[in-house]
Amino acid sequence: MADRAQPVSARAGIGAALVVAALIFGTLAAVVLRAEPGRGLGSADWAALRFTLIQACLSAGLSVALAIPAARALARRRFAGRRLLIALLGAPFILPVIVAILGLLQVFGRAGWLSDVLALFGLEPVQIYGLHGVVLAHVFFNLPLATRLILQGWQEIPAERFRLAAQLGADARAMRNLLEYPMLRRVVPGALAVIFAICLSSFAVALTLGGGPRATTIELAIYQAFRFDFDLGRAAMLSGLQLVLTGAAALVAVKVAVGEGFGAGLDRPLQRWDGNSTTSRVMDGFWILLAAAFLLLPLAAIALSGVPGLVGLKASVWTAALNSILVATLSTVLMLVLALPMATAVALGRGTVIEVAGILGLAASPLVIGTGLFIVIYPIADPFALALPVTALVNAVMALPFALRILVPRAKSVVGRYGRLSMSLDMRGLPFVLRVLLPRMRAQIGFSAGLAAALSMGDLGVVALFADPEFATLPLQVYRLMGAYRMEAAAGAALLLLALSMSAFWILDRGGRWHAEA
């Protein structure tokens, strides 16, 4: 008899984890076998490596540097719309990259709003393509993430510490030394590492705003070797390089220790006595406005410029939209089929193996998996014919780490709270899963499914690798319209994509919480 009886078996979860590991390592092996040893890196490859590292460092540094004052302001000010703004900081995560880029072009591009303003003063229009454009887009995506991480750091400081600091008469500088700097020392390294790792595998941003020998990331170089030269050997070698980079960065991001905390408080309501001077009020207001404008202006630009394009959308756009819905649906189902058994197995205490498999998805790059799948599929079938399922599968694996972070804690609490009761009623296996586990996890399943659907809907990665001219998902179609300089149609299609992504997230997340008790 097992030491602790369980209401459900961990086997399915271990199986799912093995499938994920086999997919990631299998494609990696396919790539490694294909890479020609001894050929070494050419000068273009070195340039891609250099550019990848430089843009990732700049993006991470700038995002975090700007997030520190923004998070400080959000932490100590209370104003109407504060909660909404903080919630909006989560939006870029599910915002399709191509949509954001169109918005950024509308604001910061040659013919954008900023250039229009500069022209009033007789200044040259700004140039967005190249390194600074790539960094700008990365900061757009990651400044909100960094702000949320640092804000969380602020919120973890117990209210008692602020009370004590106020009682001791701490001024702004003392507050920084007593509370803010120790908190930042704990939070900032992790934030830097996470954003650095995210920017390393940047593909869609580099594809649209970079390019050329001076602004090519490794992911983009893989794509080019593959699509333009059909040089599988070089694509494979670059994939290997990319894997080493992301693997190392993911390892660092996980390792960067969360140092000592502030100890527990008694959850007294937070009240702050600092930051009452006029200067600090003005400065905080400035940072909040700046962050909000940076986040909201490109979104507003898409909404404004997309509406005229929306009326005359071509049939090709609607077909692409249908493909995107299919990909997102299939991807969401695949993600749940993998993630639910995995989360359950982790909740049963079979954690290590499975959590490692989940984290693999963070280190693996979609283009590497895509290249590997292509190499594997090529001899037996036409890879281009499989673009839809392959895209869905890769998207599902990419969403897996996030889904597990949402599902695992809830699965643990359900098994912990209802496991014994269910067993004493002889409710095991399927009845336990259907009657207890899934109903109790509905909200989390809806949330993670919403994320997966939105991420897949907006993904412009592996699909670019696999699609032939006849096939497109909506993000790819937007990219093609941009490439053909049909900006109005592109903006219309982008607005449609934005609406589809957000509704997919909203419907699934809402569906999970509909009529859900306690």
């Binding site: 097992a2 009886a5 014994r420 009623l425 336990f432």
Partner: protein, 230 residues
């Protein structure tokens, strides 16, 4: 007879030994200092904790290798005895069939059990719409339809006020009297024991003693119990 034959239950650095017999139909209170292993004993009986040594037999039938849900045992825990997403009737119906496929006779059985505990007509509500006492009654209705030989209570009424707790204990006493089930209930309150238990199993210093008459034991407590009772 319920026999615990030379049982050793280990939990980390803690070990509890039990070698005792309980007659069918008894009403037993398990009392002792906190941390002495009262809940451990009940969990081992219910099958949530494996024995390191020994065996548990019910009517000469070895329960030791049997899974919790297959034992002739109904159990109520300290908390979390109901599923909040299921209706009252569904929560009771789980006691008949864990996948809730009930025929008409079984449905009627559920309604009758609800009526017996005083919850007639509340079958369609969710637990959150009931008071604490009513939630306890739902759990007892489920015990009723389970129809098991043994009923284990791990202080399920601890969160209720004194009057309500007494009411529930009286209901438990009535129900086991009607069904003839054997009752074992953990308690840290000697007045609970006096109220419904005819015998007491004292758990102290790593040992679960054979049952003794409640009044005799509580009136002349041995040193370990005396220290606890104060």
């Amino acid at each position: 007879m319920l026999r615990l034959e030379n049982c050793l239950i280990e939990n980390g650095g803690f070990a509890l030994h039990a070698d005792l017999e309980i007659a069918p139909g008894s009403r037993i209170a398990v009392i002792g200092p906190s941390g002495a292993g009262k809940s451990t004993l009940i969990e081992a009986l219910a099958g949530f904790r494996a024995l390191s040594e020994g065996a548990i037999r019910w009517r000469d039938y070895d329960l030791t290798p049997i899974e919790p849900g297959k034992r002739p045992i109904a159990m109520l825990f300290q908390d979390g005895n109901l599923f909040p997403h299921l209706t009252v009737a569904q929560n009771v119906g789980l006691g008949i069939h864990p996948n809730l496929r009930l025929d008409n006779a079984q449905q009627a059985n559920v309604q009758a059990a609800l009526a017996r505990v005083g919850l007639d007509g509340m079958g369609d509500r969710k637990p959150a719409a009931l008071s604490g006492g009513q939630q306890s009654r739902v759990a007892l209705a489920r015990v009723l339809v389970q129809g098991r030989d043994l009923l284990l209570l791990d202080e399920p009424f601890a969160a209720l006020g004194p009057a309500l707790k007494a009411e529930m204990l009286d209901l438990v006493a009535e129900l086991v009297a009607e069904s003839g089930a054997t009752l074992l209930m953990v308690s840290h309150d000697p007045s609970d024991a006096r109220r419904i238990a005819d015998q007491v199993v004292l758990v102290a210093e790593g040992e679960a003693d054979p049952p003794m008459d409640t009044a005799t034991l509580l009136d002349n407590p041995p040193p370990a119990l005396k220290a606890y009772l104060g």
